[in-house]
Structures are given as C-alpha cells and as structure tokens.
Symmetry: C2
Subunit: 219 residues, 2 copies
DNA sequence: GTCTATATTATGATAGAC
DNA sequence: GTCTATCATAATATAGAC
C-alpha cells in the first residue's frame, strides 16, 4: 500500500506536473484579488495578512506558503499594476491616430484603468505605504511608460500639432502632472464615479487640449 | 491646613485663571507639532498615540487629558491646517494685483504652505485615513477657500484677462486640478524640495498661464 | 499545504492610585 | 495631570504537528 501510494503520487506528479502548479497560481491570483478588495475598502495601508486570510478562508500562516511577507504582496501588486497600466496606455495609443490624439487616447485609457483600479493606482503613483519601496524591476516598466509618452509627443511635433518644445523633457512632466491632478481629484472627491462623469475627469480633455498653447508651433 | 490649601488653590485659580489654561494650551500646541513630525516621518497613517507619547516624554494615557481620542487629534490638525492654508492663500492674494496674477499668487502661496506642511496637506486633500471624516466645521473653511478663488477668477474676467466662461463653476475645478496635480507629483517624487525647484512645482506657473487659452475672451 | 500554538510587539482606550 | 496596571484587540512572523 505504502509503495503503491508513493508510486501513484510520484506518477501523478510526473504525468501532470502542472496540476499542483496551476492550483498554486490560482490561489496566488485569488490572494492578489482579495488584497485589492481590502485596499479599496480599508485604504492601501489597511491591507493586513489577517484580513486577507479571513476573506480567503484560511489561517494567516498559510499565506506564507505563497508570499514570504506582506511587503512581497505589495510588491506583486505594484509590478502587476504597473504592467496593466502600461498595457492600457499601449492599447489606447494603438486605437487612435498617432500624435496628439493618440497621446490623449493613451493617457485616457491609462486614466480609466487607474480609476477602475484605484487602490493599486494609489500604490503606484502616490506612495501611501512609507515602508514599501518598489523593486528595481518595477523601474524598467515605468521607463517604458515614459518612452510611450515621449514617442507620442514626438509624433505630435512631427505632425505639426505641437511646437518643438514638446520634445523636451519638461513636456512629459507637464502631461503627467495633468493626469495625476485629474486622478487625485477624482480619487479624493468622487472615487466611485466612472471616467467621464463628475467634475474632474472631464477636465482631462480640457487640459490636454491646451497643450498646443503650451507648445506653440513657432516656439 | 486642609482649608488653607483649598483656599490657596482656589485663590490662585481666581487670581490667575489663565496660568493653568496657558500651560495646557502650550501642551496641546506641542502635541500637535509632534503629531505633524510623526506624520511627516511615518506617513499620515503612521500617527499613533504611543509614538506621540514617546516623543512628548509622557505615558500614552496622559494624552487623553488633552484629546479624547486619536481621531480628535486628526480633527484638530485638519481644522488648523485648513485655516492656515486659507490664510496663506489670502495673504498671497493680498500681496499681488487683483485678477489672474492675484489668483496665481494666492494659489502659489497655498502651494508653498502645502509643500512646507506636507503631512497635513495630505490629510486635507488626499484623505489618507479612511476612518477619519472631517467635522462639519471644516466644511465652512473650505467654502471660504472656494469663494476666494471664485472672486479672483471674477476679477480676472472683469479685467479682461479671462473670458466669461471663467465665471462658471468648472473654472474652479480646473484650477484646483492644476494645483493638486502639481502638489501630488511634488509630494510623491521630490517631497523635500522647496517650491520652485525640481521638475514639478515650476509646472504650476506654466499651467496657470494657459488659463487665457482655456477661457478665451470671445468665448 | 494546511493547521495549532506561540513569540513578539503594537495598538486605542479605561480605571483608579497619587 | 501624571502615573501604573490592565483590557481587548490586532499585527507579522516562526516552529512544528499532521
């Protein structure tokens, strides 16, 4: 019996080596989803292993089989969030003409993602957990985000929509300040409204359409 | 002896009714200052009675003689911060011409105050403590802030600097989105730089000088 | 991979002596 | 108005049985 069981188990592991791994990935997915819920409800700082375990229906120590610490969960959420946000921006860019319209569409898609993933977006751009520092890998993703914006601005200059000053570094800071302002106000004052409704998200288009005045063609 | 002591105490209280009260006010002042330090160092959420008592050099229960709860301390910081910020805005307005320049000067003074009082500013405009809800009195102060901005915008319209659309409600949302965006970026990315340095606070003037394009005279 | 038990530390708050 | 003692609760994390 004992040998048979052993063989059965080993055999199963050999035949379906991914079965356990898949279960594991599902659990990790569930943990991250619940973490997002907790952060949305109790604030980004309000995430705790205890509450996570409670909602998952396990005891807190079990979580250590999936993540080595609470900070590691923040880390996973940060990296995943950054990638999702980058992809949202990319898709927004692709679904529009190049140039200024593309930039606006890309950033709006990113903004929609942020609004739909408030807690993670706060983690990404507002640094609400002082003891959490994103891993170096996360830096590479944010560089890509910057490159997308730089490219869209360059397109707009090439198309004659913006003046050459939009190719300088400050233009990216200007654009990021606009989107962060809109999102900050939406988060703080009307966090449950979707993009396009309320007093603040419509300001995004208004502000972006001022860019030609900020970077005049003869400048 | 006992009667004498009683009389002495009562007498002292009658002759200098303010002496104890003044000591008390000094301690309250000290508590609020330390609370700001803690919040700046550990995040707005990181404020705790234990750390507060540690730094003040007393035991935690002693704090209850001055504030009935931790939330009451947040409340006091919120109200005081709002008043200080309002006064900064008022002084900035008074030190400049009326109209657009006044609005810019007022908001810049408010921005300087926010940067110099980062933790309290976060408490005011970013709501980082989900279980804290500002008292109704605080609402009146923020209404005054809005009125100052509305007045400055109306001046700018009267002076022919901005078109009539700047008298509408959306103009105030636009202006507040600009300042919040600049401050969000400064807080998250370069919290220790003073106003005017770094990549983001200079964006404030840039964005504000786009207002005439947002509210054209013929609009 | 789950659990119980535990260590350690911290929290906000109250009772009551002095 | 200060303290000690205490309550009730919560947190992260580890050891080790199963």
């Amino acid at each position: 019996m004992a040998p048979t069981d052993e063989v059965t188990q080993t055999g199963a592991a050999a035949v379906r080596p991914d079965r356990r791994a898949r279960r594991r990935q599902e659990t990790i997915r569930e943990i991250l989803d619940i973490a997002r819920d907790v952060m949305t409800a109790e604030g980004v700082n309000g995430l705790s292993l205890a509450e996570l375990a409670r909602r998952l229906g396990v005891q807190p120590p079990s979580l250590y089989k999936y993540f080595p610490s609470l900070m590691a969960i923040y880390d996973a959420l940060f990296l995943e969030g950054q990638r999702q946000n980058l992809q949202a921006m990319r898709r927004g860019l692709q679904g529009a003409e190049s140039g200024l319209d593309g930039l606006i569409a890309g950033l709006e898609a990113s903004g929609r993602w942020c609004l739909a993933n408030r807690a993670v977006a706060e983690l990404l751009f507002w640094r609400p957990v002082p003891s959490f520092h994103p891993s170096p890998e996360a830096f590479a993703v944010s560089m890509e985000m910057v490159e997308l914006q730089r490219g869209a601005l360059a397109d707009a200059v090439a198309k004659g929509q913006l003046g050459p000053a939009a190719n300088e570094e400050g233009a990216i800071y200007l654009v990021s300040t606009i989107i962060v302002g809109v999102l900050s106000q939406a988060f703080a004052n009307e966090p449950d409204l979707p993009w396009g409704e309320g007093r603040f998200t419509p300001m995004f288009a208004t502000l972006m359409h001022l860019l030609p005045a900020a970077f005049p063609l003869d400048g």
